[in-house]
Symmetry: C2
Subunit: 336 residues, 2 copies
C-alpha cells in the first residue's frame, strides 16, 4: 500500500529509524539491562520487536498496559512502575501466570497490592522528582512492612525524570549520580536484586541501575533530539491539505491540514511542519504558512512536539519505508 492512500490523520513510523533505534539501545543495554517502557508506544507489536532483541521484561504505566501485554503473551516479567489503590486486575493476571510486580510507596499502596493478589513489589523511592516515591530514608521501613505482609520485595525503583531533558550532558550526568546515590542508599536498606530506573535521557550515564526503564528511544521525541541523544526521530503524523487560501485582505496565504488537537499531544506546544510555519491548531485542523506552494490534496508530515500523548490518541500506527506501508499495528494499550 502507498502511504498516500491512508486515511488521514495517520500515525507513521519510519521502519529504518525504528530498527536502528532498537538495535542501538540493545547494543548498549542488552537483554535484561533494559526494561523497555511501553507507555511511549502503547503497541504490543512494537513491544514484540523489543522482546525479540532480548528485552523480555517490560515497564508499564497503567493497569491496562499490564493487561494488554499479558494478553499478547508478553507477560514474562511486567513491572507496573506506578502506584495503584486497586490491584485486583493485576492479581487476576498473576493468577493467570503472568509475572506482575507493582511499585509501592506507602502503607496504602502496599495494602492494595497484598489485597489485590499481587505477590511481588518494588519500593518506589523519591530521588528528586516531586511525584511518587517514598523518602529514601523510609524505604527500608516500607520494605519490612511489605515482607511482614507476605509480599516479596524485589528491590527498588527511582526515576530521575526531572533530569531527562537537561541540555547539558555533563550536568545531567552529575545530577544523575546524586539521584542514584539516594537510590543506592535506599537499596542498601531495602535489599533485593532489582534497582530499576532511568530513562532515554540518562540511558548512557545511569550506570547504577540494574535495569533501565527507557521508552522514548524507540520512536523518539523532538525534545530528546534537542538534548543531543543519538536516536532518530521515527514518528510523524501524516495529514492531507484540505484547504489552501492565497490571501484574504491583508492576511498572507495559508494552508490547512486535517490534523488537530485530537491527533497531537500539545503539552509541549505546537507541532512542526517541514518547510512551514505553524499558525495555530484547532480540534481537527492545523493552519500553517508554507514556504513551498501547496495544493489541496497534498500530503504533509507533521512532527508532534510530544510523542507519548500523541500516540495514545491514535488507534493504529503504520510502519513505512519511504512511500510504502510495510505494516499496520494496533495501538492496543490505550485507556486505563
Amino acid at each position: 500500500m502507498n502511504v498516500h492512500d491512508l486515511p488521514t490523520p495517520a500515525l507513521l513510523v519510519d521502519a529504518d529509524a525504528l530498527t536502528a533505534n532498537l538495535a542501538d539501545m540493545a547494543d548498549r543495554l542488552p537483554g535484561p539491562r533494559l526494561r523497555p517502557h511501553v507507555k511511549a508506544h502503547k503497541t504490543t507489536a512494537l513491544a514484540r520487536q523489543q522482546a525479540a532483541l532480548g528485552h523480555t521484561g517490560f515497564t508499564c504505566a497503567t493497569v491496562r498496559e499490564v493487561e494488554g501485554m499479558a494478553a499478547a503473551g508478553l507477560g514474562e516479567d511486567l513491572l507496573l512502575a506506578n502506584e495503584v489503590l486497586d490491584a485486583r486486575r493485576l492479581g487476576a493476571l498473576v493468577d493467570d501466570a503472568a509475572r506482575v510486580t507493582v511499585a509501592i510507596d506507602s502503607p496504602e499502596t502496599l495494602a492494595a497490592a497484598a489485597r489485590g493478589g499481587v505477590r511481588e513489589v518494588l519500593v518506589d523511592v523519591n530521588v528528586g522528582l516531586p511525584r511518587c516515591g517514598i523518602a529514601p530514608d523510609r524505604a527500608g521501613w516500607l520494605a519490612d512492612e511489605a515482607r511482614a505482609a507476605g509480599l516479596t520485595v524485589r528491590g527498588v525503583m527511582g526515576y530521575e525524570g526531572h533530569l531527562m531533558m537537561l541540555p547539558d550532558a555533563v550536568e545531567r550526568a552529575r545530577l544523575t549520580e546524586e539521584c542514584m546515590a539516594k537510590l543506592a542508599a535506599a537499596h542498601a536498606d531495602v535489599g533485593g536484586e532489582v534497582v530499576s530506573g532511568g530513562g532515554t535521557g540518562t540511558y548512557a550515564m545511569n550506570t547504577w541501575v540494574t535495569e533501565l526503564q527507557a521508552g522514548s528511544y524507540a520512536l523518539m521525541d523532538t525534545a530528546y533530539t534537542a538534548a543531543g541523544l543519538p536516536f532518530r526521530q521515527a514518528l510523524t503524523v501524516l495529514a492531507t491539505v484540505v484547504s489552501v487560501t492565497d490571501h484574504i485582505g491583508s492576511l498572507p496565504g495559508w494552508a490547512v491540514a486535517d490534523v488537530g488537537l485530537k491527533a497531537l499531544g500539545m503539552d509541549h506546544g505546537n507541532p512542526t511542519v517541514s518547510g512551514g510555519q505553524v499558525w495555530f491548531v484547532s480540534d481537527e485542523h492545523l493552519t500553517f504558512a508554507s514556504a513551498e506552494p501547496l495544493r489541496v490534496g497534498d500530503k504533509v508530515q507533521v512532527v508532534p512536539a510530544h510523542v507519548d500523548p500523541t500516540v495514545t490518541m491514535h488507534e493504529r500506527l503504520h510502519v513505512v519505508r519511504g512511500d510504502e506501508v510495510l505494516d499496520t499495528w494496533a495501538v492496543d494499550l490505550r485507556g486505563w
Copy 2:
C-alpha cells in the same frame, strides 16, 4: 454505583448541569434553529438527548462522527462541517439512506464530494478565521460549479471561530455582525435555504444564521465560563490520590493523582483542582499542592482546561448526580 467505585481516571458529567444546559439552549434556539456539534462530546447517547429536545440535525467534524451518528440512528440530517478529499465513506452512508451534507470550499473538495457519492453540499465561506472556507466573493462561483456537477447546494456555512472567546460581549457582537455580513453577501450569491454557523460563544448574538452549530454548551469549558456564558461547567475528570509526600528537604508537601497528559486536553494549559495548586502534569500523573491535607486513596475532581480534546481521550463518560453514577455512555465517535 458510587462514583468512588469507578476506576480512575474517569470522565464525569454532572447530570443536572447537562440537563440545564441542554434545556436552556433549546429554549433559546428550539428545534432546527440549533444544529448541535457532536465534536464537543463525541457521544451518541448525549446526541440522542439533544435530538429528543428537537434538534434532529447535527454538525460533525470528522467522517467517523458522521458514520457513528448514522449507525446510531441519528442520520436524519448530518452536516460534515469540514472539507474532505475522499468522500466515499460519506457516499456509502447516503446509499444507506442517511442524509449527509458536506462542506466544500474548492474545486478539489467539490470534485471529491461528487466522486464519493455525496449529493448535497454547503459552500464553506471564510468569514475571518484563517482556516477553511472560500473567499466570500468566490462563493457564488463555487456554487455554480457544484450545481453544474450535479450537486444540490443547500446554502452556505461560515464559522466566526476567532470571536468565540472574546471576553467583551459587546465587541463580540459587533464583530459577529461584521462576519455574518460577509456570510450574508456570499449567501445572496450562492442561494439555498441554509445559513449555518456560529458556536457557543456567539449563540446569543448570532441572529443571522438559520442554524447555529454550537457544541460546547452541553458540557462547557472553563474558557467559555470565563467569557460570561450562562451554561454550567458539567465535565470533570475524577482521579485518585496515589501518593502524598509531606515534604522532602526544602520542598513543601504535594500530592499525586492518577490523571495525566493522556487523560487531559493540554492545549489550553494545565487543569485546575479545587483547593489545590497544580505543579505539573506527567503522562499519567498530576502533581499538585493541596490546601487541605489529602490522604492516599482520596478522590479529587480535576477540571480540564479544554473539554473537547479531553473527552476524546476517554472511552466512556459517567453521568453522575452527587456521588451516584446514573449512567455510563460510550464516547463512541472517536478516531477518524
